[in-house]
Symmetry: C2
Subunit: 200 residues, 2 copies
Amino acid sequence: MRTVDPAKHEAKRRHILDTAAACFARKGFDSTTVANICEAAGISSGSLFHYFPSKRAIFTAIFEQDERDIAKYVAETADSDDPWGDVLGLVDTLVEPLADPANAGLVMELVRQAGRDDEFAAMVARSDSATREGLTELLRRAAERGQIDDSLDLATAATWITALVDGLFSRASVDTEFAPLDQLPTLRLILTRSLRAEPR
Amino acid sequence: MRTVDPAKHEAKRRHILDTAAACFARKGFDSTTVANICEAAGISSGSLFHYFPSKRAIFTAIFEQDERDIAKYVAETADSDDPWGDVLGLVDTLVEPLADPANAGLVMELVRQAGRDDEFAAMVARSDSATREGLTELLRRAAERGQIDDSLDLATAATWITALVDGLFSRASVDTEFAPLDQLPTLRLILTRSLRAEPR
DNA sequence: GTCTATATACCGATAGAC
DNA sequence: GTCTATCGGTATATAGAC
């Protein structure tokens, strides 16, 4: 018989994470103070540090929370008869977070922190290479079926797909007029014309 | 007869800017302290604040310094008989700063700061719309000559060109293995296949 | 113009009552 | 588990001697 309710604990933890994510997206990691998060979440700093050991730990937990299982997607589509469609499907998944405009700023903040912090960099590198490897595998299947221009290097193609997605996040964070999800058809067009065999 | 040497003053100012740019690229704007810049530049804080009124002013001055005159490029190429080549030339110019790896981090830092600071955002917005308008004009000329797929919206195409460049900066800042300038031929290939009339 | 010294404020994290 | 109170450290910017 336990004295604490794990579900309640988890719910509060999640509440702190969601609140902190909004703060980090708006003000950045460095300029967001623990006091900011506490005020926004309606708790005291003593309480916050009961759930997380440090401000850094909050930031990393935000992204651990939604680290996608690219490998799972790749495995699920192993028997697909349209690998090219699966490539586009994975791109859709990667772009999905942009449905919430705040996520563009949050991801850009992660990118920036990764550029100057080894721990954050390792987290990004792990997620990033998983994405590129997954894309490369899907591209390989598509190439086997003759759906891909065979003069292309698949790893390079995968990297450029992620660069395009990165560009979408960057633009969304810089230009508030930019509606990233409206650009999905154009993104697919670029990918198709650049990568497919006999694309037109 | 002046008692101060303007050239010397300017040289020192530039020295502070260069030193600060390196610090901002490595540690970000928020985590770089004025003391950091002073130590790296070999001066005291009293001296630094003689040249710049605030830390913010140093950051903005870095980018005012190299704000490109896109309009000038567009004007100079007005009589060109290969507008499509001019588009690729402008892209080369935009990517050029990546020759120094530190610039990727610096530009990403600006993007992030712009997402949460009105003054920085205005600076980025001005430079960004100038770039897109310049690209749109070059694309219009290329379209007039039948070099562009005429089913495309030119402003959208210009935005995607900047998104591709943004993606290159983002990747360069995230992945230290990534050699952005080696990717220029691939970038040109993507642009050509996506935008040109009868590209293959 | 450059320095040292410091004002003033705020930060992340902890201690300990309840 | 949550709070209040606060510690030790550090930030930007200024003051004033030289």
